[in-house]
Amino acid sequence: MKMSLKTLFSAACLGLCAGALAPEAALAHGEKALEPFVRMRTIQWYDVAWSKAKLNVNEEVVITGKFHVNADWPRGVAQPDATYLNVSAPGPVFIRTERYLNGQSSVSSSALKLGGDYEFKIVMKARIPGRFHLHPFVNLHDAGSVVGPGQWMEVEGDASAFTNQIKTLDGSVIDMETYGLANGVAWHGFWIALGSAWLLWWVRRPLFIPRYKMLHAGQDASLISPLDRKIGAAIIFAVPMIVFGANFVTDLKYPNAIPLQAAMDQIDTLPPAVDVGAVQVKIQRAEYNVPARAMIMTALLHNGSDHPVRVGEFATANVRFLNPAVVQPPQDEGAALAAREGLSIDTADPIAPGETRTIRITAEDSLWQRERLDGLIRDADTRMGGLLFLYDNAGQRYVSSVSAPVIPKF
């Protein structure tokens, strides 16, 4: 009966495989599962761009972008004392050849400063052919992955053509793909052969029932032969000799070997790019209208610049709500997460130079729901955050990081 059920299950599995729809494009990388308040109020991404979307194996793509580290950091998230700017990909289908934070080359982890502004550049080299969705993201220690905007990459060519040659400080050139593999396999093979020989030496003879019976009959002396003892003694003598001999030779061969490097990179913050300049914004109240899928923010704006300014965009958790009267996003970047007519202001008049005005900003789109940001109102921390982009008529952009408690309207 058991067998027939298993067979049935196998058939069901096969049926499932056969009946499943053809795999569709995975547009996301699991970021929607992270609580909205973490996505909205920790790493605030913007201006993320990709140098290309199609490339061959061994070619490079450059990801550039910026992020602001929100000063209104969630209480439930560990401070960003240890973070790692990473790339989300289906395994190392690309390798990361270069990474820069604020213009500094960075190969290790780093601390981020609350309220700090960062520019990044990551160079990736294609390794495996296929169509992959990549995101920059920041690993926050104990807090999770705050994922940035994604992009499809199409890689063509032959995986076996991939090379990753590195010059070591002793002058030799190595291929990271195969370096040390043959040596490692050979050593494992050698020890496995010795271990197997020892096991076979014993299991070739009658084992459990006879040996137990003989042991309890007082015949245990005959269970270990003089030859067994000699082999045991040889092991005790020869194995450490081989081990320490090989160790000695390795030391001679690699005299410049160093320990793993554990330092953290020290990244200087840039001159502030967010919440600076002549335009200041303070959110006085934020309401989330559940049926309308709209965040309505009452904001006090002060324009201290010489030009009138208008609110052009509200960006949060990779979703961009755009005021069509002011700005449109580039066509090739995160278009799927842009609500092109998602932002409206209660008055069409720009904020005049020197004026302080209270305005109502409405960010409305189904993306609140599709990106699972509407779950914010049911979280333990219901403060929202995001970046507000304002523009003057000369093309100057002002970026303001805003946050406020959210009141739901059911």
Binding site: A89, N139, I209, L227, I236, Q261
Partner: protein, 250 residues
């Protein structure tokens, strides 16, 4: 090696009973193979796995300290059954061999074939030399005390020099991104992995400097001490689990 010296010791059974007991041996060996691959591998993966998975975790301070300590466990427990009851000095070698079978299968089919990591980034360490010596010491001494002290020590002390010929070459320095890295560190930087960022590594971060930068021997001897204690602990744990009691209620 004469024919006489290769003679297998006297057998209590002949004929059908001998064949029956041999068939039982084979059944138990198959059972044990999968048992120890499954159980010991899980124990190791979830206690010292990260050091074993990745090149850039194999440091001088924690890797040689924790790995022998966690890997002497099952060998001691299995020896506690196979030696006193069957005079089979193969418990340690059996466990470590099973571990390596499981490890290699996973490194190849999961990390490499499925998730594209190069095999050399996920090369496992080996404790087979340590296990062979541990088995041999138990056989020759027939003593828990001697095996605990000398076997436990040797088990730990052999670990780093056994693996240095495999992993030493990954500690060659390279200049990369304006910093000095080892080739092992470079794997961690280049071959992207989402779940194990650099900061998660528990590796030597410095200050084992009192004795002139000899971090590895210090860690190895500390591990040796702990292994001399861990060995009898797990010996008795193995004996306790291998109870032959039948009870009325559970």
């Amino acid at each position: 090696m004469t024919g006489k010296s290769l003679d297998i010791p006297a057998r209590p059974y002949t004929g059908e009973k001998a064949r029956l007991s041999r068939a039982y041996d084979y059944l138990i060996l198959v059972l044990a193979l999968f048992l120890f691959i499954g159980s010991f591998h899980l124990h190791v993966a979830l206690t010292v796995g990260d050091w074993d998975f990745w090149q850039d975790w194999k440091d001088r301070q924690w890797w040689p300290l924790i790995t022998p300590l966690m890997m002497i466990t099952f060998p001691a427990a299995v020896q506690a059954v196979l030696w006193p009851n069957f005079r089979l000095p193969l418990g340690a070698t059996l466990c470590i061999s099973c571990l390596l079978i499981g490890t290699w299968i996973t490194r190849f089919f999961a990390y490499h074939m499925w998730n594209f990591f190069p095999i050399n980034e996920v090369l496992p360490a080996t404790m087979l030399p340590s296990a062979l010596v541990l088995d041999a010491i138990l056989m020759l001494s027939n003593s828990l005390t001697v095996t605990s002290i000398f076997g436990g020590m040797v088990f730990a002390l052999l670990f780093y020099p056994t693996n240095w010929p495999i992993f030493g070459m990954f500690h060659v320095p390279v200049e990369y991104g304006g910093a000095q890295l080892t080739v092992a560190d470079l794997f961690g930087f280049q071959y992207i992995r989402a779940g194990t960022p650099e900061y998660l590594r528990i590796i030597e971060r410095g200050t084992l400097r009192t004795y002139g930068q000899y971090a590895t021997p210090l860690s190895a001897f500390c591990s040796a001490l702990l292994c001399t204690l861990m060995y009898p602990l797990w010996w008795y744990l193995g004996k306790a689990f291998a109870t032959t009691k039948y009870v009325k209620n559970i």
